[in-house]
């Protein structure tokens, strides 16, 4: 059991690519830290550096109080769970679990004891004499975890262990993972591209992009107080709505809408003339007919998705979509790819409680809560008005 300290870790590949670009991170003893980001952000490389599977180009890695930067993987007291499980196909479950222990010359009795414990913990007792080929995906995943657990290392490293499971199974195993961590309390570094996993599993999450850590924080803080545009756009599904806006005559203008700055109170002072406005889909409120609050926008709903408890409505606004590098790299990592060519106009999303009303084709008016809007500097992309995390649960993610 040990904490991890990463100091200015840099990893440059021989072809010149800087996969990890000066990462500083401290992971507390017993903490479940998630490394999350789009494909190619460097999270897996960073994990492999911690594991010792990649040599660090610069910087230092400490596990516990030991400098392990030059150590082989086997000397770092870690165990790893791979995305494809990497079970030894020619060995039974029992031998798979025992491998690491046998290699380390653990006495036979202790091996047997640990294996029985681990098998019981993960429900593998029936499967001990089967080979990986005869196991289902979920079972293999548990064996892969069992292999790590049986070793009793100081740190678990997990590389997208759930991404090969189908959706329903994933939700269940996620819960099991959280439960396991409560029970075992071992420091865990968990890599995923899925921000839902990051938000639900991690005590803290490190959002990465381009080899750098954008923000390390609790899920709450990441959601409510994103430090820059990237984190704001990456966390939350559907993504935060973004639009370029200008300050004219003391009001925030964009897409033909004009929102008076007075509503922002003291925060208005922090906003420059040009700004990027961000609103999460769940922070819109439907306005009844006839009313017209100061901070509201309206549009015609072109697409409607009924999710059961909620409805997602999509409506275009009369402004160009925000196309910064961060957005592009996030979108590149998203599962869905646009079927149609990119529209000239930005498409906003709003989450509304479902009812009997059909939104499609209608014009709707949505109110914005100034306290819940985010503002970003168009040049630095940093968040201009820091919000405090609200005391309410993050809405269930789509």
């Amino acid at each position: 059991m040990a904490g991890i300290d990463l100091q200015t870790v840099v990893k440059t590949f021989p072809n010149g690519v800087r996969a990890v670009d000066g990462v500083d991170l401290t992971i507390e003893d017993g903490e479940f830290m998630v490394l999350v980001g789009p494909s190619g952000c460097g999270k897996t490389t960073l994990l492999r550096c911690i594991a010792g599977l990649e040599e660090v180009t610069d910087g230092a890695i400490f596990i516990g109080d030991r400098d392990v930067t030059d150590d082989n993987p086997k000397d770092r007291d870690i165990a790893m769970v791979f995305q494809n499980y990497a079970l030894y196909p020619h060995m039974t479950v029992r031998r798979n679990l025992a491998y690491g222990l046998k290699v380390r010359r653990t006495p036979r009795r202790e091996i047997a004891q640990r294996i029985t414990e681990t098998a019981r913990l993960l429900g593998l007792e029936e499967l001990m004499d089967r080979r990986p080929l005869a196991l289902s995906g979920g079972q293999r995943q548990r064996v892969a975890m069992g292999r790590a657990i049986a070793r009793r290392p100081a740190v678990y490293l997990m590389d997208e262990p759930l991404s090969n499971l189908d959706a329903k199974l994933r939700v269940r195993v996620r819960a099991d993972l959280a439960r396991l961590h409560d029970q075992l309390g071992v420091t865990t570094v968990y890599v995923t591209h899925d921000q839902v996993e990051a938000m639900t599993l991690g005590q803290r999450a490190a959002v990465m992009n381009d080899g750098k850590i954008q923000q390390v924080d609790t899920p709450q803080s990441l959601y409510w107080s994103p430090v820059n545009l990237f984190v704001a756009a990456f966390i939350g599904s559907p993504s935060m709505n973004l639009v370029d806006a200008r300050i004219v005559d003391n009001s925030l203008r964009f897409a033909g809408f004009s929102l008076p700055l007075s509503e922002l109170g003291r925060d208005a002072a922090d906003i420059p003339d040009r700004v990027i406005l961000g609103v999460r889909p769940e922070h819109f409120t439907l306005v009844d007919e006839g009313h017209s609050p100061a901070w509201s926008i309206e549009g015609e709903v072109t697409v409607e998705e009924n999710l059961g408890a909620e409805v997602l409505v999509f409506f275009p606004v009369d402004a160009a979509p925000v196309e910064t590098d961060e957005i592009v790299s996030i979108r590149a990592g998203e599962e869905e790819e646009a079927l149609l060519a990119q529209e000239a106009r930005a498409l906003f999303t709003a989450r509304l409680p479902s009812g009997t009303r059909q939104f499609r084709g209608t014009r709707i008016r949505l109110a914005l809560d100034p306290e819940r809007c985010h503002f970003f500097d168009p040049e630095t992309r940093r968040s201009l008005v820091m919000r405090a995390p609200a005391d309410e649960p993050i809405p269930a993610l789509a």
Partner: protein, 326 residues
């Protein structure tokens, strides 16, 4: 608008007959595509095999069929049973198999392991190791004759340089050793590529997990790489038996010291393997019948060896398919 009613329940199923008709058409096409090969199969394999069998049961001694040819039953085989030279040739064949095949496997696997490591100029090394395979049989033989020559051959020169006796008549006194060298040098290349493909088919993640678990390179090789390679090894073993069988025919003839008179007449006895022995009986004494019988004994020997290999496979060959945990 009048429309026909489509029945909700399908009437008597028709697909069955259509599939069978289609199958028949494809079968016809299939055998059409295979007809050239079938022709070759009959002309080059089936008929000769049958003939060989018949010959072994006859007293055929010339090419001319019309000379007192008659059925002699198992006489030829009985004669072979009492033939000391035949048994010696069988012994030599066994010794060859037992030495050349392990040497092949070790060399091929060793070279493949080297090529699998991340070293520079990989293509160069691979080419250099493989070139020997491309060299034609005759050139292979003469190049190694130059190596093995008693007076001035490279092997003796090297031995001399190391301080050992540099005057060995390899071609005459140790012909099988020379044969071994030619075979390993000249045929390790293809096996090397096959093992290389096998090594690369083991996902890197298995090695990484093992490294994290604490296994060093040697241990990983023994507990992970080797077990997963056993199917390839088995393939190479069986292949090796037949490769050795075929090459042990040509090379002893070409490697024999001195000029050749008849085909295979000057081969040192140690290199006369059973198939060569059969050849000698036919082209030396014209004894087709006996030669055929000896050849069949050789084939039988090969079958026994192969069968033993296959049976042993149940104990040491990993038989899973290639799904490493996904």
């Amino acid at each position: 608008m009048a429309t026909t009613q489509t029945p909700l329940v399908a009437t008597a199923p028709r697909p069955l007959r259509r599939a069978s008709r289609r199958r028949k058409r494809e079968t016809l096409a299939f055998y059409g595509f295979l007809s050239p090969w079938l022709f070759g199969f009959i002309a080059l394999s089936s008929i000769p095999l049958v003939l060989a069998f018949l010959m072994s049961l006859s007293n055929l001694t010339t090419v001319n069929l019309h000379t007192n040819l008659h059925y002699v039953g198992t006489d030829n085989y009985v004669r072979a049973y009492h033939d000391h030279e035949m048994w010696y040739s069988l012994e030599r064949t066994g010794i060859l198999m037992v030495t050349v095949i392990p040497l092949w496997i070790v060399t091929q696997l060793g070279l493949a392991l080297i090529l699998n490591a991340s070293i520079k100029f990989l293509g160069l090394w691979r080419t250099l190791f493989f070139i020997a395979v491309i060299v034609p049989v005759v050139a292979k033989a003469f190049v190694w004759k130059a190596m093995a020559e008693q007076d001035g051959g490279l092997i003796n020169r090297a031995l001399g340089a190391l301080g050992l006796s540099g005057n060995v008549d390899w071609l005459l006194d140790h012909p099988t050793a020379v044969l071994l060298m030619v075979l390993v040098w000249g045929y390790a290349g293809t096996g090397m590529l096959i093992f290389l493909a096998g090594l690369k088919s083991i996902p890197e993640e298995l090695h990484e997990v093992a490294r994290v678990d604490g296994a060093g390179a040697v241990r990983r090789f023994v507990t992970i790489t080797l077990p997963l390679l056993t199917p390839v090894i088995m393939f190479q073993l069986v292949w090796g038996v037949f490769l050795a069988a075929n090459e042990a025919f040509v090379f002893p003839i070409l490697l024999s010291p001195g000029l050749q008179q008849g085909l295979g007449s000057t081969v040192p006895t140690d290199n006369v393997f059973t198939n060569l022995y059969a050849l000698q009986r036919i082209f030396g004494e014209g004894d087709f019948g006996y030669g055929a019988a000896v050849a069949w004994i050789f084939v039988f020997f090969l079958i026994v060896v192969t069968a033993l290999l296959f049976l042993s496979g149940r104990f040491w060959v990993y038989s899973g398919k290639e799904q490493y945990g996904k």
